[in-house]
Subunit: 393 residues, 2 copies
Amino acid sequence: MKQMIGDIEVRAREELFINIHPIQAAGRLTPEAMKAMITYGDGYSTCDWCRQPFRLDKIQRPPIDEFHLELAKFVGMDQARVVPGARRGFQAVVSSLVEKGDSVIVSSLAHYTEFLAVEDVGGIVREVPLNQENVIAGENTAQKIEMVKKDTGKLPKLIVIDHFDYMFGNEHDIYGIAKVAKEYDIPFLANCAYSLGVMPINGREIGADFLVGSGHKSFASPAPSGILATTEEWADKVFRTTRMVGDVTKRKFGIKEVEMMGCTLMGANLIAMMASFPAVQERVKHWDDEVKKINYFIEEFLRIEGNRVLSEMPRKHTLTKVDTTESFDKIAQTHKRRGFFFSDELKKRRIVGEFPGATRQWKLNTYGLTWDQTKYLAEAFQDIARKYGITVA
Amino acid sequence: MKQMIGDIEVRAREELFINIHPIQAAGRLTPEAMKAMITYGDGYSTCDWCRQPFRLDKIQRPPIDEFHLELAKFVGMDQARVVPGARRGFQAVVSSLVEKGDSVIVSSLAHYTEFLAVEDVGGIVREVPLNQENVIAGENTAQKIEMVKKDTGKLPKLIVIDHFDYMFGNEHDIYGIAKVAKEYDIPFLANCAYSLGVMPINGREIGADFLVGSGHKSFASPAPSGILATTEEWADKVFRTTRMVGDVTKRKFGIKEVEMMGCTLMGANLIAMMASFPAVQERVKHWDDEVKKINYFIEEFLRIEGNRVLSEMPRKHTLTKVDTTESFDKIAQTHKRRGFFFSDELKKRRIVGEFPGATRQWKLNTYGLTWDQTKYLAEAFQDIARKYGITVA
């Protein structure tokens, strides 16, 4: 029987299934974060001990101030803020640096929220083409900058490139791009929504001016939550404090940061990030094992005749786009449940998170599965293949 | 012994104390919202059943789409969206309507986030003065509009006035202001952060073009969460969808709304709002009883010699600013714990939420207390007064 909260069904996918949903895997809460949700759920729960100077990231109890300092260190940048989702990080940076008509360099695999952040200020996105491996390289970025310069007579105001993209989970050359950005003296935002929190990330080593991370994508945190980090050089601009003065009251709100809209991510979302932080710091050290697991899975997956992988190989990320047009989709063509036969078979084996009904190109993510679960997952795919007469080598 | 989650103390103020914190009272979760926090805590929990057209407010399972329709109806507007906090609602409206150098009319008691939203786009706030009762009236608003017109040669682009302000909890004449706004044909945003979710609010009756509410202030919801509602007339502008096209890939993200940054308030925060919604719909019907309770409390509070109330009287809101300079502060002058003696005394009586150490002007909120708790609260204040030799009439 389905458990309900009013007309809302109780969600228990993570408890009852192996979940290979492409974007959910690394946002699953730690037990500590779950406790934080329960104890800090109430609206303004983080404000109990808010004192002078009255800003979220200065609160000492619970140790929110310390978390901010540690977070900046963890990502190898000078300053960090939490924001309600990576998109609000893009928005803050773009709103600070880009004016109407300005160009912003993005990836041909840019997340749509980067488009929106630029559109919101009246800027124009200019996409860097992918190379043959579906990767954004420094060289292509430099060429695009030259093209923008030629077209508009001006350099782009900002470069935003995803470390790993949402489509293939391919790694893009943010180190090379940072170098190019430096040569042209254009600020560079590395979108680490799929990497910050699952693998070691150091903004200084990358050479990025801004790092953005996603709490609900890769930091074992509830949505919306995200991270924006920057260098001392840029902090004054992006984290600038208000200068507005009330014309009648002469009020000022000196310490509040304009782009952050003052306090940013109050309540359980922030405390859950803090609660997950020790586990996140630990888990990034074991990223290589996660990479081994996805490559093991993919190897087994490719033993199924007709299966292909669209992401770069070998895998450097657990998020992977696969193509089963020549395997499971052939079954779907004549099955009375069409593509849903495949979801049915997975679900019978307690696996969810594929896009239901999709049997051509679709995405999966093995992040956080144990080796046993990974092997079980690989066997389940092969088992389904055999059941429908598809050869498994 | 203090329970801990790592270095984060477990918060149990609402369980162990009567909490009169000025901004926390109406953001306390309902039991249903708490359940939602637990079951929808994981990052992208709301995305299990996200299907075409792939936007949060269109998701049918759980019934997020229906919630959006019901929410618009509940606030008497045509369309509603959830946002990560009221401030993100201001930001969306201001960013849509206001350009660099434009004036925006705000209250002399405007919340600082309204300032920031205007500052972010390079606009200028112009404050309407308070009348003798510390209230913003339609008349004063009209005068301010005329003044801006005279000073700048242009009408303000937007009027943003708080229904109840954060300082005194006074009610401002949003009905009268809406009329003035109509006369000048200036869009009007009613900031109902302190009213939407605790009392009946109908945007159409008010005559507002935009309504903003706060989930964590007044909707029994976790932070950050908020509501932005508008009319059909303005929806196309503020909820406009993206028109950006990738120059290389020709990608479009047609249904994503620019100011919302696409999907807005995913995860437990949204589901908790939905879970609290039935209780919120019910509780607004009993606002008159909440008003009776604060007025009862204030009557008892004023029996303590020297106590004053700085908010308008009789109280129309549970958030109230009081002045105890001539009562408890006199004790604080010579007490070894200074103003903290008062916090100590309250805490002994299981009352928290006053600003610790403050014994001059400070705020409290009785929202959601039972009659028994309200009486207990009043008696506790009188008891403390008597203990220190202050006359109670």
